[in-house]
Amino acid sequence: MIKRTRYRWTELWLLLMPALFLLIGLVALAVVKTQPVTIDQKSLPWQDALTPVLGLIGALVGAHIVLNIIAPDADQTLLPIAGLLSSIGVLEATRLGPDLGQQSLGAKQLVYVIIGLVLCVATVWATQQLRWLQRYPYIWAAVGIALVGVTLAHAHSLSTDAPGRDVLTIGSGALSFQPSELLKICLVVFFASYLTDNREVLALGGTRLGPIVFPPVRQLGPLLVMLGLALLIFVGVHELGLAILIFGLFLAMLYTSTNRLSYVVSGLIAFAGFSYIFYQVFSYARVRVDIVAHAFDNINIATNQGFQIVQGLIAFGTGGLFGVGLGLGDPTFVPASTTDYIAASFAEEFGFAGLLALIGLFMLLVYRGMMIAARSSETFNQLMAIGLTSIFALQTLVILAGNLKLLPLTGVPLPFVAYGGSSLVANFIIIGLLLRLSQSDNLRRQREELKQEKQDLKRAASPTQQLGS
């Protein structure tokens, strides 16, 4: 008979890694930070570091236990990877907080992680019937449009001089929230369910003109409308990273569903064209590119031109191969060292080796997501997994390239690691959806194997019947 679901031992075993990482980090911080190391660094009583570390270990084990009950067959590596990444985040927030004058930054990040884990588990529980996600694509389109509207209305009410990152945040303090984070998930669900219904027509193409096959306008229309609305945020709040992210996941999902390279090629050509137009029309786009292109030429601390990028590069360089050690660097020289430049803060103290490991963890996360897509038998599930995984992949790529002065810097948070509630919560919801997708697929495969085995048994038991018919 088939093996029934066992306890998720693999997950528990893998969760040992974030726990060990946090505990050793705690010891390192306790040794280093009880006394200030340099003039710029503030001390961190070890009790303050104890709460986030033990709290996070407890929260991860709690999520593991709940998953055992509600989704025993789901992928067992997703929670440990997300857990390890967010424990890097919590440890960094705990370590950087005192230097920035926010003693409880680590505890705050822990609260966000706990909210995220609760919502992750809630998502797994609520999507037991994946059908309701798929059935009404236009509900998700409407929610997405509402989120765009809220963001734009909010951005309009602020002064246009405000830096782009703050424009996305609504509310203040503990209740602040970025609708654009949820917009990504809504878009993926909409694209997935719409493409499931229309992929054949889109794959075959519409009118032909010689060798060129034009895409069918009627089927492509709603997709382009949603894409355009989402990209309106870019024009409205000047957020380049978000635009790249949404456009990228749109292309990834369109290519996966239709298997037509022409969509990707024409999409990239359109992207290049739009980029050129935006560069010519909007001054802020020129400024962003200019900062990257001439970072070392005119470093201006007052206007933050070049200063942040150069400080970031210095932080990367200071780390060297193996880093200066947790708590021994000065990453807070870089503006936004806990959010946009968390990778630089991490790399300064953990070095190139640590940064490579971080990138490796993100690659594993993306690999697991792609495997869920590859193993899934239903188009909708495949597209969902591809879209959700692309969010992680593109976000990581855009922000790391920005930090390393390869792309214009944009305010995309590094998934799970960067400080900030909305992004963390949205990322954990994505993990929840991926867990549900793998759970439903593993269950289906088990049922199929069971059926196959029964048939084989029947055939073996009564060979005469077969001959008689």
């Binding site: 693999t10 075993w13 893998l14 890694m17 974030p18 060990l20 990482f21 050793i24 980090g25 010891v27 390192a28 040794v31 280093v32 067992q76 590596t77 440990p80 990877i81 390890l84 992929r199 054949e200 794959a203 075959l204 239709t258 298997n259 193996f322 880093g323 050690g325 947790l326 021994l328 953990f350 070095g351 080796a353 640590g354 490991a357 971080l358 490796g360 963890l361 594993l364 690999y367 697991r368 495997m371 897509a373 590859a374 193993r375 899934s376 038998s377 495949q382 495969r445 199929e448 194997e449």
Partner: protein
């Protein structure tokens, strides 16, 4: 041991744990790949295969190659749409061109609404025709031979 050496050990331990985690996850993924049954592109597991089609001439289709063996399932559809069991991306092949059905231990070829009908041994497939081994099926500009 002074605190500097202790911190050095901790620093190394932290990075080592990150790599250990990666190693563990890779080990888990590898084990899963070994255990899992082979899956084909598109994710669906092959059903019971009742025969094969050998590609003799691929015409203007680009997703198959000459000499390739295509699986025939109990109900197989051939056409240009990606939902078909056998997809032929030639412009001379209709969206759903022809259907192969396994019934009474015989393969039957029947029309599925093709613009220019498929040909079995030169004969237009309008009504279901039983297939004999080594019969040649012409779908658009693609020629296929039935084999076991």
């Amino acid at each position: 041991m002074d605190s500097f050496e202790f911190l050095l050990i901790l620093r190394i331990a932290l990075v080592v744990i990150l790599y250990l985690a990666i190693l563990q996850i890779v080990v888990v993924a590898r084990r899963e790949l070994r255990q899992a049954p082979a899956f084909v592109a598109g994710g669906t597991r092959p059903q019971s295969v009742v025969g094969h089609l050998l590609v003799l001439d691929k015409g203007s289709a680009t997703n198959i190659r000459i000499g390739q063996r295509l699986d025939i399932e109990p109900i197989t559809t051939i056409g240009r749409a990606p939902t078909n069991t056998i997809v032929l991306d030639s412009k001379y092949v209709s969206v759903v061109h022809v259907r192969i059905i396994y019934r009474d231990r015989t393969l039957w070829v029947e029309d599925a609404g093709a613009t220019n009908k498929a040909k079995l041994e030169g004969q237009d497939v309008v009504q279901p025709i039983p297939v004999r081994p080594d019969n040649i099926l012409q779908v658009g500009d693609v020629r296929l031979r039935f084999t076991l």
